[in-house]
Amino acid sequence: MNSITENDVIIKTPHFGELHVSKEQIFHFEHGMLGFEDLNRFVIVSAEESAPFKWLISIERPEIGFPLLSPWLIDLNYAPGHGYDVDKQAFFVVITLEDERGKMTANMKAPVILDTESLIGIQIILPFDKYSTNFIIEEK
C-alpha cells in the first residue's frame, strides 16, 4: 500500500493514519530491531497527545511501532557507558505495557541509539548488569 513520491515516503499506520515521511527523517537500522532483523528503515514519530512518548515506526511494515521514552525521564543518572556522543546521538528505551492493568516497563538494558547526522540507528544491549530489561515505571 506504500507509495513513493519524489521526496516523501507515504506510510499508512494504525495509530496515525497516513504519514508523509521525508527521506531526511528515515533512520537506517542495519541490524533491525532485535527480533525484527528484517526491518531496516524507521521513522521517529512524536505526537503531542502522547508526549513525551515517541514512536519508532517501521517504514517497511508501518503496523509495527515501538513506543519510546528518553531513559533520562526515567533515571536521571542513566549512563550507557563510554563511546557515545550525546550531542550527536539520541537515546531511547523501548516501553512495554505489561498487562491490561497498564503497568508500564522500560527496557533500560537495550537502548535504541540514533545518530542524527548519519541517520543510522541501532538497538544495543549494554554489556553490564546494572540496568533491567523490565524496569517498572512508577505511576505516582
Binding site: 505526537a47 503531542e48 521514552l69 533520562w72
Partner: protein, 102 residues
Amino acid sequence: MLVLSRKIGEVITIGSSVTITVLGVDRGIVRIGIDAPKSIPVHRKEIHDKIVEINKQAVKSEFSALKKAISKSKIFQKSDSNDKNMNEKVLNFSDSNSDTKK
C-alpha cells in the same frame, strides 16, 4: 553442529575476524574470551532472547492504553534532552500531518 575439543588457552577462529579462546574451566563453568569486530554483537543468548521477547511485546502496546497510562502518571515532563538532537529528524504528527489523521 560442529563440535570441537579445545584445551585451556587454545583458540577457535570464525571467519577471519572472530576468535574464541577457552580461558578456563572450573566446576562446570567454562570461561570464554571472544574477540569480534564492533559490528558483530556478542551476547549471552538468554539476554538476547529476552530482549527479542520484550520487543515483540512492546509493538503490541495499544496507543490508547499508553495514552491512558501517561495521563495517570505524573512523572513525565513533556520534553526531554533528546529533543534538541533530534529536532527536524522527528516527524511531528500534530504539525505536519494533522490533516491526514483518520
